[in-house]
Every structure is written in C-alpha cells, then in structure tokens.
C-alpha cells in the first residue's frame, strides 16, 4: 500500500501544523471512510424511516438483517480477502499482470457461488415464515456483500483509496436514498433499497477494476490450486473477522442479553448500539495508523529489504532495521496518544453528546469500554500490519486465533459476571491479544535478520 504514502508525504512536507492536520485528516478519512459510511448509512436509514415504517420493529429487522449480512459476508470472505490480495501482489511483482483479471473474475465467481448457495440455503431453511421477497433479497445480499469486500480489498491493494472513498460515499448515499424512497414497502422495501444501492456500488467498482485490468484471457480458477494462495492467509483472514465479531455473536445468542428479531436472527439491544457507535471513535487512530505505517514504516521497510537483497552492508541493514523498529514503536505510541486524547474528550463530553443525539445515559459505561476496546483494535491492526509486511503469516494465524478464542471466552465470562461487566470481555480479549502481538513483534525484530537470512523458505 505504498501508493498512499506518496500523497501523504506531499501533505506532510508543508511543515506546518495545518499541513500536518490536513495530512492526518486525509489519512483518517481514507482509512476509516468505508466503515463509517456503512455504520452511518444504517443509522440514517433507520432514522429516516421512523414514523413511516410501522411498527418500528420493521426498522430493527432491517438493521439487524443488514448487520448479519455484513458480519457473515466478512467472515466468509475474510480469508479470500487476504489470500487473494497477496496472490495479486505476487503476480504483479512477478510481472504476470495479464493473469490478474481472469483470476479476479474466478475468485468472484467462486465466492458468489459459495456465498449464494449458503444464502439460498439459509433463506430456504431458516426463514420459513418470511416473505419470498425477503428471502430472495437475503439469498442475493450475502454473495453481493462478499463480492464487495473482495473488490474493496483488491482496490485498496491497488492504492485506489480515493476511488474507494468516493464509491462508498456514493454507494451508501444511494442505498440510503433508495431505502428512503422504498420505505413505503416496509422491511422488503428498505432492504431492496439498501441492496440496490450496494449493487450499483459494486458495479462501479467492477468497472474500475476491469478498466485497470482488462481481461484478455478466459476466466480461471487457477489461484485456488494447491500452493497458489497461502492457506495461512486464508485462515488468518477468516479468524480475524470471526475474532472481531465473536463478542457480538455471544451477546446475540445468549438469551438473557438478546431477543429474537426476525427468523433465527437475534439482536442485543443493550450491546449493539454502543458497540457500533464506539467504532466511530477510532477515526483519529486510524489516521495515525495510515500515516505512520504507510509512509514512515514502508520507507524503512523498503530500504531494509533493498539493502538485504541488493548487497547492503550488514551495518546498513541493521540501521534500517532499527529505523523500521523505531517507526513501529513510534506509530504505536502515537496511536495510543491520539486515542487517549480522543477517549478523554469522549469521557468528558459523552453525557451532553448522548443527550444531543438522543441516546440514553444507560449506554454510556458500555460505550466507553467499547471505545477503549476499539482503540485496542486499531493497535492490533497495526501489529498485524507489521506481520503482513514482514511476511510472518504463522504469527498472524496465531494472533487471530487467540483473539477469537479469548473474545468468545471472555465475552461469556462478562455476561456471567453481570451487566456492569458487559464490554469488558471484548476489551480484555483485545488487550491480551494486543500484548501478545507486541511481544511477538519484539521477538520478530530481535531475530529479523537471522530469520530473513538463515530460515529462508521455512
């Protein structure tokens, strides 16, 4: 993702606080845009439908359905997102550019087929009491969202951040608008409007991809052959998404914290709203993450590997190693700093803020815990990013598996401990995973040269 670094560096070069602010704001918007849009989109659609779609349960049903679609599509496609992005990077590095488009279409074909089949079976067997239109939308929505995530990751691999941002703004705008227009048809109307907007967004994304990679060869499933994609990346991608959603799933499927919303889908009224709102608090952290890891880190990373490959002196290699390590440490500190300030500000102003948007004070404690947890998640993302860059896939699998296990376990414990502990399960799971990850990063840096040279091909 070195491309964004160039633009950021241009902004940073202005040497003024305003320039710095612009760079970080730009980075924040770039990095958090897509999911901010999706959260806001859902909330806005709900607000716009109030009073028109009756009963209000229908709005909740719409929001929960979409949340489940997002969750299950992320878990389903998480492995492919990582595995295929890496495959594309390798193919481009090896100058096999013409193989990308056929493989890309092959990946989409397979993900559509698998997610479509799963969606269709879910709609058929799990929602016998819902309307056929709802079930059709459900069966179509799952593969659509899977494909969107894959295309998104593909585009970000091509450094098309601005295009992604614009597409998500446009796509979610369209989704909100269409849902607003179709709200007269109730749940199905909202869902159809939302998915319609998403479909148009996906179409535009596909157009962008295929313009960059005009397919000149027939579609192929070659990248599913043994050895083409790294199984560790497939596992890591799946586990990461599973790990991040595990606490939500626990809360949704524990009877005392949840209620049925539609078919087998359950939601947790206490848990869900603060959790999703909390994710909005990490926008500054994400900005720092992007600036630090996409400019400074990548710069030293490139120098390090250039020195390794192109015959640098060991002393130079060690120097670049130190710089790389420094930027990781600095990046982590800066994320901690900026998130700490954000959290302090939130802590101070959360009461008036919640009053202003009309959310009950009861949510405040859980919201604050979740905001801390989300900040940990940004840090964890930074740690994972280091492992991705240094190609330590085994560590990625270990960390994401640890996150999944801890999040499942601690969330259940937090429920057993009572309402005042809600949210701590997720936070503690992330904290432990984060510390483990940091220790692994430290260990990795201690033996980076040894590993790079002596354990090649391991």
């Amino acid at each position: 993702m070195a491309g964004i670094g160039f633009e950021l560096r241009k902004l940073l070069r202005s040497q003024s606080y305003l320039g710095l602010l612009r760079a970080y704001s730009y980075a924040s918007i770039i990095s958090s845009g897509p999911w901010v849009f999706s959260i806001l989109g859902l909330i806005v659609t709900g607000l716009l439908s109030l009073g028109v779609v009756v009963p209000n349960l229908l709005i909740t049903q719409f929001q929960v359905t979409v949340t489940y679609l997002i969750m299950s599509s992320l878990v389903l496609s998480g492995g492919l997102q990582l595995g295929f992005t890496r495959w594309v990077a390798d193919a481009l590095y090896a100058k096999r550019r013409d193989e990308v488009a056929p493989a890309f279409l092959g990946v989409l074909l397979l993900s559509t087929a698998v997610a479509g089949a799963l969606g269709w079976m879910a709609a058929l067997f799990l929602f016998p009491r819902e309307s056929n239109l709802y079930r059709v939308l459900l069966a179509g929505g799952l593969p659509l969202l899977c494909d969107i995530w894959i295309v998104t990751v593909f585009l970000s691999g091509l450094k098309q951040y601005r295009a992604i941002l614009a597409l998500y703004a446009g796509g979610y705008g369209l989704s909100v608008l269409q849902s607003y227009l179709l709200r007269g048809w109730g749940l199905e109307g909202l869902l159809a409007g939302f998915l319609g907007g998403q479909f148009l967004m996906w179409t535009a994304m596909m157009w962008l991809v295929l313009r960059n990679f005009p397919p000149t060869r027939p579609i192929t499933l070659d990248c599913f052959k043994r050895g083409a994609m790294f199984p560790s990346l497939l596992a890591g991608g799946t586990l990461y998404n599973l790990g991040v959603w595990a606490d939500k799933l626990v809360f949704w499927y524990t009877p005392q914290t949840s209620s049925v919303v539609i078919g087998p889908l359950r939601a947790s009224t206490i848990y869900d709203l603060p959790v999703f709102l909390a994710y909005l608090c990490v926008i500054p952290g994400m900005g720092v993450f992007l600036v630090k890891f996409e400019t400074d880190f990548v710069e030293w990373y490139d120098k390090f590997y250039t020195a390794v490959r192109a015959g640098g002196a060991l002393q130079d290699i060690a120097r670049f190693h130190d710089h790389m390590q420094d930027t990781v440490r600095e990046g982590i500190y800066q994320i901690i700093k900026v998130q700490a300030i954000t959290l302090l500000a939130l802590y101070t102003f959360v009461g008036p803020l919640f009053h202003a948007i009309g959310i009950s004070d009861l949510y405040i404690p859980l919201f604050l815990v979740q905001a801390v947890a989300a900040s940990f998640q940004v840090l964890l993302l930074a740690v994972l990013n280091v492992f991705f860059y240094l190609d330590r896939r085994r560590e990625v699998v270990f960390i994401t598996a640890l996150l999944t296990a801890l999040n499942l376990g601690f969330s259940r414990v937090s429920i057993a401990l009572g309402a005042e502990w809600f949210g701590y399960g997720f936070a503690v799971a992330l904290l432990i995973t984060l510390i483990t990850g940091l220790m692994l990063v430290q260990r990795l840096f201690r033996r980076l040269e040894y590993q790079t040279f002596m354990l090649q091909g391991s």
Binding site: V308, R309, G311, G312, A313, Y450, M454, Q456, G457, S458
Partner: protein, 578 residues
C-alpha cells in the same frame, strides 16, 4: 594383484573421485581417465562423479568399460541435498569448537611437519563434530551459526555486500557437510584415487580418514591455480567495492575467500594422499608450494602411442623441410599472433621458409580473423598457411620444426607426437615445455636438447631459434636424435601404465595390510618413482631400472597391448591438448 586373497576385501578395487570430468564432460583429463580404466581391466573401478548441478551435464560422453562396476553421482550445489529450514539455537560448545577449528585452519601450523598433524587433527575433529552437533542444520540454520557468521563478516569482510558474503560462505561450506555424508554412504573400496584436489580431493581426504584406506592423487592441472584463474575472471562472483577503492590486481574479498577454501581443501588432500602425482616437474613444484609433502610427490607423465608416429620417420626428406608449424587451435591462449610475427622474422632470415598453422579456427572466430589480418598486414603471402584441422601422421613428415608459442600449456602431446615422428620443437617456456625440450634431471638432460625454449611473446627469439635449427643440419640432427630418444625413454604409454601399475599395486598392498603389519613409510612408491625406479614392476619384469633410467618401450610387454587401447584413438590427430 592381491585380488585372490581378498576374501573379506571390498569388491571395489579403485574408487575414482572425479570432479566435473569423466564420464559427463569430455576433454583431456576424461580421455586419460578412460585410458587408465581400460588399461587395468583386472581392476574393478567405481566412479564417484561430483558435479555442480544435475542440469549442468548431459548424457555420459563415454561408454563405460566393463570393469566399471558402479557410478555414484553427487551434485554439490543442488538444493535437494539440503535439510529443511528449521530455526534452532545451537549450543555454545559447538560454537566454540567452530571458532577453534577456524583459528587452527588459519594458523600456519608448527614448522616441524608444516602443520600437517594440526590439520589432520582439525579434519578428525571436524568429521567427528559433523556427525554430532555440528551438523549441516547447525551450520545453515542455527542462531549460533548466524552470530558467528555476522561476527566474522564485521571482523574480516572487506566487501560491503552482506548478502553476497552470506551466500558465498554458505555455498562454499555446504559441500563440506554433504561430501562428508557422501563419504559415509559410498560403497567400500580398497583404494581411492582422486583426479584433482578441490572438492573431490576433500572427499578423498575424508574417505582416507574414515576408512583408513590409501588415497592416490593424480593432478593434471593444478586445481588451486586453475580455480584462481577461474575466480579472477568469474562474472558470477560479485565484487562490490566502489571502483575508486578497488586495487588493480587485488582479488575481491569473495574471490580471496574461495581461493583460501580451495587452498585449504587442497592441503587436506595433499596431506592424505600418497602418492601425489603431477604430470610434469613445474606442476610438482607448484604442489610443493601449495603444501604437498615432498616425499609423497612424483611425476607420471602422459604417454603417447609411439609406433604410428615412429613409422612416419622414413617418409622424412634428407634435408629438414623449411617449415615451422604451429599445431593447435587458433585461440588467444596459443598466442598465434606471436607465431605469425616469428614467421615474418624467420622468413626474412631464411628465404623459402614457410610458417604453417594446423588447427581449427572455429572456436574463436574473432581471434582467427585478427590472425589473418595480421598475416596480411605483415605481407606474408604464401609464406604463411592456415591449414585448418590436419591428421598429424600425414602432416608431421612435411614439418621441419614444431612450434608452440602458447602463453599456457600443461604437457602438450603434440610436442611428444612430433618427437616420435622425428621433429624437433621450439616452444615458449610454459608448463612442461622446458622439461620436454631440455630434459629433466641429469640422465634426461644428457640426451641433449630437442630444440629450443624462448620467452613468452618473443617473436624475434622464436623466429631466430627456428632458423638457427633449420639452417644448421648438424644441430638439427642432434635435436632430432634427442627428441626421439626422449619420447621413447620417458613418454610412452607403456611407461605411464607401468608407473600407474606400480602406484596401484603399492596402494592395494597397503590397503590390504592396513591393520596387519606396520605401515610402510609415507611416500615409498613416490620416492621410487622420483628416483627413476618402478618398484612393483621389478617383480614381474625383472628390471627395476625401467622408466627414467634405462627401459625402452618394448620391455614392458604386459601393459603394452592395453596401452594401445581404443581410448587413445584420437591422438594421432590434432589434439586439443592444453
């Protein structure tokens, strides 16, 4: 031969250790190996071929004789032999041992035995350690190994590129383990015979150490010297010093590292081998300089098949033809240009003299073209002829003097073939040429000079020497007589086989007695050969004075028939020797 009594003996008599040569590469050394195997049909040979990577070689270039009972191939730089990368710590004691072994290898050793005992201990300890904790996995993947490597890089490496250092060290050391493992997996043999030092020589040293069987070394070129030339001109070794810091004539660090490795391996082989055989005296002296023990060194020259050439003597005109002839490929190493200039000098002094160049021109077309242009610019016209490839038995009777203007030669067979046909020679002072012209040792020298030796690139001297010889019938006749006497006394195939027979019989006898009686002193057979005796052959032929003292070819009848084996069939033609 003791084959009958060898009930508990290995079924292989001689294990030949062949690095980058027979049977997959053709050339002078390979022809010689083929000749030796065919020359001893009663011995069972096993070939151990060492190559770089399998894909570097094609099909076998020789049909293996029936007495080759096995062939083991080993590829030094193939990935297959390497263990899978697995990180591990590696223990401190092993790290200390590695440090100690390296220090010992670097030290010259005490003067008493030129460090031989110390080197033997290093080899012994290394072999033991490699069986235990100091395995290839330790060297390739352990943290201790890594920290030693980086420490050595910081301390010694004068080339900035760490990645090149890393791969150089790794590549050059890995065969030390894989060959030690190979040595343990090879079938047992009574004696080991390596045709070079280098990796094959190291394998021989390891085999001699672990089996206690004799090792014979025959060096045709000097491995260490040839590698030095290779390494100086090698493109694949990067040299990363900035141009301004580079010293002309100074090998880059990695080249120096390779050279030191080959010198070390060479010394190990010289220590283990008995006898250490060179083709000619200059090479023997090089071996001594490289650390061979004087008592173990000796000469066994290549022998030619004399009769076909001797038969052509009757076709020679009474007066020597006024023809100076360079026989060899038209390539820079033969320095054909100096020959052409010498023809200009000679033909100026002796009207009617012609210069001939007999050899293919296709190997180095640019150089051949330059030679033609040079001849034109000197306006030699008909006085210089490019003959191309010629059959020597037809060519030699028409030649007055064979000329070699080479800047490098080993033991050029064309000189000997010319001698056998009664043609004296004028050569540059390279390789064994001086030994072939003037003789080696008092008896040989007493035969007289078979021509003249001049300096490298000395066209004037070369031309004058040729005219001096061709214009003085008495001197010419003396040179001719010396030439014939020298080739028949020292450089025939039967003599070469008799000497190798002695070498093999001595080694086989030592192998069989290894545990029984006290081992004979090192260098016994080599000393005998150096002093002009062929020890074991005395038993059979009743003459202990063959070879460099009195023998004529005819007296070594038992080996004679085999000596004219098919392997020699290409020699009466223009050979690419050197």
């Amino acid at each position: 031969m003791n084959a009958d009594s060898a009930v508990a003996q290995p079924s292989i008599d001689v294990m030949l250790l062949l690095e980058g040569t027979y049977p997959y590469v053709s050339g002078g050394v390979s022809s010689w190996v083929h000749q030796i195997i065919n020359g001893f049909p009663e011995l069972r040979f096993h070939l151990c071929f060492l190559g770089s990577r399998r894909e570097d070689y094609g099909e076998a270039r020789y049909k293996l004789p029936a007495n080759v009972v096995g062939l083991t191939e080993h590829y030094l730089f193939s990935e297959e032999v390497l263990p899978k990368a697995r990180g591990r710590q590696g223990d401190r004691a092993t790290a200390e041992l590695v440090r100690k072994l390296h220090t010992q290898l670097r030290e010259p050793g005490d003067d008493a035995d030129a460090g031989r005992a110390a080197r033997a201990r290093v080899l012994e300890q290394s072999l033991q350690a490699m069986e235990g904790r100091l395995d290839l996995q330790y060297f390739l993947h352990s943290r201790q190994s890594w920290s030693y490597l980086t420490e050595q890089y910081l301390e010694r490496c004068t080339d900035p590129s760490f990645v090149d250092y890393f791969w150089t060290v790794r590549t050059m050391h890995t065969p030390i383990w894989t060959l030690a493992a190979l040595a343990r997996s090879l079938p047992p043999a009574r004696i080991y015979h390596t045709i070079s030092t280098g990796y094959a020589g190291y394998l021989g040293a390891v085999l001699a150490r672990i089996t206690g069987r004799p090792l014979v070394l025959s060096e045709h070129g000097i491995y260490t010297k040839e590698r030095r030339i290779d390494l100086f001109s090698a493109q694949w070794i990067s040299d990363n010093m900035p141009v301004l810091e580079r010293n002309a004539g100074e090998a880059g660090y990695f080249r120096a590292l390779w050279i030191r490795l080959f010198e070390s391996l060479g010394r190990m082989c010289y220590d283990a081998a008995d006898p250490v055989i060179a083709l000619y005296e200059a090479n023997r002296l090089r071996q001594l300089a490289d650390g061979a023990e004087p008592a173990t060194t000796c000469l066994v020259a290549n022998g030619i098949n004399v009769p076909p050439f001797a038969a052509t003597r009757s076709q020679r005109p009474a007066q020597p033809p006024a023809v100076m002839c360079l026989i060899g490929r038209v390539v820079p190493i033969k320095d054909v240009k100096t020959f052409i200039r010498a023809v200009r000098v000679a033909s100026g002094r002796m009207p009617g003299l012609e210069g001939w160049i007999a050899g293919p021109e296709d190997e180095h077309p640019d150089y051949a073209r330059e030679c033609h242009e040079l001849a034109d610019s000197l306006e030699l016209g008909d006085r210089l002829k490019f003959l191309g490839f010629q059959k020597l038995v037809e060519l030699l009777p028409k030649v007055g003097v064979v000329v070699l203007s080479s800047i490098s030669e080993a033991l050029p067979l064309v000189l000997l073939e010319g001698y056998a046909a009664g043609v004296p020679a004028v050569t540059t002072d390279v390789g064994s040429c001086k030994q072939l012209i003037d003789g080696l040792g008092p008896e040989d020298e007493a035969l007289g000079s078979a021509g003249a030796v001049v300096g490298i690139a000395d066209a004037q001297g070369l031309g004058e020497a040729c005219t001096a010889l061709l214009s003085d019938p008495a001197a010419y006749a003396r040179a001719q007589a010396a030439a014939i006497a020298r080739v028949e006394r020292y450089y025939t195939q039967p003599i070469m086989f008799a000497k190798y027979r002695a070498v093999y019989e001595d080694a086989l006898a030592r192998s069989d007695q290894a545990s029984a009686t006290a081992a004979p002193a090192r260098g016994a057979v080599a000393t005998a050969l150096r002093e002009g005796r062929i020890p074991q052959a005395a038993k059979a032929a009743g003459a202990d004075d063959v070879g460099h003292t009195a023998a004529t070819a005819g007296r070594l009848a038992p080996a004679d028939t085999r000596a004219t084996s098919p392997g020699m069939g290409n020699h009466p033609q223009v050979t690419g020797s050197g």
